[in-house]
């Protein structure tokens, strides 16, 4: 089997130049999807029978939580690849995915809390899902803090990659135990499980929003990885050339 593509993918230079071609498209796509989904969801999707208009927060809450979780697995996978194949790029991806995921997790919690007020009557409910999300935030913060605690970039990368992997092993356990804990403490008077089937008119904009969030995630991740690449590869020839080109262009414009 030909593994060339795999190693080429690990080259920061290749990544930088390829993504610079993709970025504009990705940006436009993200913007279109998010605007469409948001307008559709906020204005055109039918009102929920029970929850009224407050259910419209779902169009932000669900994609954010989905990506927060997916982002953690991506981060852990990138860390594992970095540890196994010693690929510098995947460590950079991991490093950039951590704050991104943490912000998304926070957003999911925040929108969830706001949604909870009109629906459940309080901003915070110790619901299994909410609690798991909070723990996910802690896991993200742990990885982030460990990353920056070491003086050596390399050690920080590897240590936080290991932590991310340990977290991945633990996520299902944590989720299951929290779920179990919740059923223990809440005799099933209220059920927070979502309606089994959503009306297609409601679901379609949600799908658009989820797609939009995925694109957004890719966009934001690529952008911060590119910065990281420039920063870490500053001594290589291609970055020097790139920067001096930019500098010359600017001088040319000024004169």
């Amino acid at each position: 089997m030909n593994w060339n593509w795999f190693y080429r993918m690990g080259s920061p230079k290749w990544f930088y130049y390829t993504t610079s071609r993709w970025l504009p498209w990705l940006g436009v796509m993200t913007l279109c999807l998010l605007v469409t989904g948001l307008v559709w969801g906020l204005a055109f999707a039918p009102e929920d029978a029970k929850q009224g208009n407050s259910f419209r927060i779902i169009y932000l809450h669900v994609p954010a939580s989905l990506l927060a979780l997916a982002g953690y697995f991506l981060m852990a996978a990138a860390g594992a690849i970095g540890l196994i194949w010693r690929m510098k790029l995947s460590f950079m991806v991991m490093k950039c995915a951590a704050p991104l995921g943490a912000v998304l997790t926070f957003l999911a919690l925040f929108t969830g809390a706001i949604w909870g007020k009109p629906t459940w009557g309080s901003y915070w409910v110790w619901d299994a899902r909410v609690t798991s999300m909070l723990i996910l935030l802690f896991l993200y913060l742990g990885v982030l803090a460990l990353q920056y605690a070491f003086q050596s970039q390399e050690v920080g990368n590897k240590a936080s990659a290991i932590l991310a992997l340990i977290g991945t092993v633990n996520i299902p356990i944590i989720y299951k135990s929290v779920d179990w804990w919740f059923t223990l403490h809440q005799p099933s008077t209220i059920k927070f499980t979502e309606a089994p089937s959503m009306h297609p008119d409601m679901f379609q904009p949600l799908l658009v929003m989820i797609l939009g969030f995925y694109c957004f995630y890719a966009l934001a991740l690529f952008m911060s990885v590119r910065v990281e690449i420039l920063h870490r590869e500053r001594k290589t020839a291609w970055v020097r050339d790139l920067v001096s080109q930019v500098a010359e262009e600017r001088v040319g414009v000024n004169s």
């Binding site: 050596s152 970039q153 390399e154 870490r232 001594k235």
Partner: protein, 214 residues
């Protein structure tokens, strides 16, 4: 003079940390019955080199062969035939000198008795005192008394003369002499000049000075 048997051969060893070269293209041989002194200014990577040689760190490039075999294939054999003494002497403050030696040589096989070793290093009366009550030099002596107890092939000593008086230094030199006479090898990093026969020197170049200061 007979040809000395090579114990360890190092080829083109490089070590990088965060894309900065710490060590570049190190080639050296360690032979039986020989003392290799590693020299270099502060920050030239002496300790790092010793850590690479003791396989505590893995090199970014290059290879280390022990008795002709690559280190990765004979890690266990190699590790059981070396001794490393670092800046920190690994002396447990809560334990007495005697207990410390027993613990440390428990990692290896016995040759002399512990009392003998302590006597040789002038620590006879202190053997049952917790080490935190000993002076820095005495603690160092406890660590070095390990040398008397070991019968491994290669010694790696990182700044063995630090905190020792002249008498202590002579003792260590005697130890080393006995060791190489018995067919062992010593690798040490120090700034002091060592009066030993069959001493070779290896100087580490100072790398990236301007980068360090930037």
């Amino acid at each position: 003079m007979t040809v000395k048997k090579s114990l360890l051969s190092v080829k083109n060893l490089c070590f990088r940390r965060d894309d900065t070269d710490i060590l570049r293209a190190i080639c050296l041989d360690i032979n039986e019955g020989e003392v290799l002194q590693i020299e270099g200014v502060n920050g030239s990577g002496k300790t790092t080199l010793l850590r690479l040689l003791t396989s505590a760190l893995s090199p970014s490039e290059g290879s280390i062969h022990f008795c002709g075999k690559p280190l990765t294939d004979c890690r266990f054999d190699y590790l059981s035939s070396i001794l490393f003494l670092g800046h920190q002497s690994a002396v447990k403050m809560g334990l007495t000198a005697e207990e410390n030696l027993a613990w440390m040589s428990g990692l290896m096989e016995h040759s002399h008795s512990i009392a003998c070793a302590l006597e040789a290093f002038d620590l006879k009366g202190y053997s049952d005192i917790p080490c935190h009550r000993l002076s820095a030099g005495q603690q160092r002596r406890v660590a070095l008394a390990r040398l008397m107890l070991s019968n491994v092939k290669i010694w790696y000593l990182d700044e063995p003369f630090a905190a020792l008086d002249t008498q202590g230094c002579t003792l260590v030199e005697q130890c080393m002499q006995r060791h190489i006479n018995g067919g062992g090898a010593v690798v040490l990093s120090t700034h002091q000049s060592v009066a030993l026969e069959s001493l070779r020197r290896y100087s580490l170049p100072a790398l990236n000075q301007h980068e360090l200061y930037r």
